[in-house]
Symmetry: C4
Subunit: 124 residues, 4 copies
């Protein structure tokens, strides 16, 4: 496949990392994930900005997705410039130098049984 | 980021606030949420209209989202002009004076374990 | 609001009505729902076609949505020309004479705890 | 309906097949599904490519969807050129010779109660 699929700017208004979990880690650790697909023949340099309800945006968090690879990145694991606080509303904007496709998902294991959500992010 | 992302008119056909909950409040109170991201440099003035199956629309519910902020608004908490009835089908239209991004989500805790859903709203 | 929002043709590839339930009816009866919002000033005349994996499409199922109203229609309740079989894969196409917005959701209560899914349908 | 609905290129960045299940098979076997609707009057020849985080893409997996039919295909069941590994992040690109509509869903039955997610895929 030589075709590049996607857009360069994506947004996810809903962000929330639950602050507790049930079940074996890492599979059932509560997590909020951004899944990025790079179908292009070049590495994607991605920058994520995090928006809050009551303070200035934080970022960029810098990531790379190799050519023709996917990465499923847990917001829980973003550390630089700072970890994302738990039990706090946030939103994210994902920008890339090449076209990518972005999907948002969450596993919430705060109670004994898992809950899942997902959506393709908003592309522009 | 100087770029403004999104559109000014959004719709969510699915609305329903469960009328009971399990688990600690406020995290596990059953809730229906509209998550709004305003990446612009100016305050967003947002108006929400609520549509029903059997009576005239109600609204506008007026909100503001500061520049470069997100707000995750629970329909449960909308009070003016009137609270949204529980256990009742509704839909919503969200309009803003600047471009925003809108995502819909629900936590249903009527049973012992949570259920979650989400989707990016319909943009026009 | 004088603005009409949406499109006239929508599709939902995922359709499946679970064939059993737990919990009080009708709230927790397993159901598959199409939520339609008509923001226009005129009645929407809607036709739904149901597609299967191994036989000819069935329909149209005819519905009306009054001006400035929403209807959350359970596929379980569609009867004419014929009920939709349970535990069977199907898909649906929704067409309207005026612009509408369509969202798909499911409550699956086959086990003790509910599971939920939703997505804005595909618009054309 | 003579109208063909959809696009020819679709992407799903989020892919993950849980590696265990609870409940009766096949309904409650954990599964990841791509639901494809072909409203056209001709057979759709579909090719799926699978992308990983740490190795070359695999595929194409070749499928056909008859005219005016839907198929809900479990990634679990794709065998040729090779099965998709469990408990592994992947993404998929779906290409067709005619316009189709694609939706992604998952049933996760690793714990006693089911969790569900769905989204319309990204179309281009």
């Amino acid at each position: 496949m030589n075709q590049t699929i996607g857009k360069k700017v994506w947004a996810i208004p809903e962000g929330y990392i639950p602050d507790w979990s049930n079940g074996p880690s890492p599979q059932m650790l509560s997590h909020e994930t951004v899944c990025i697909l790079n179908t292009s023949k070049q590495e994607a340099r991605v920058e994520i900005m995090i928006y809050f309800s009551d303070r200035e945006p934080v970022g960029p968090y810098k990531l790379t997705i190799p050519a023709e690879r996917t990465r499923h990145i847990r917001f829980n694991n973003l550390e630089n410039p700072e970890p994302i606080p738990r039990d706090t509303d946030y939103a994210s904007v994902i920008q890339s130098n090449v076209a990518i496709v972005v999907q948002h998902s969450r596993l919430d294991s705060r109670q004994a049984e898992n809950a899942l959500l997902t959506t393709i992010a908003y592309a522009q």
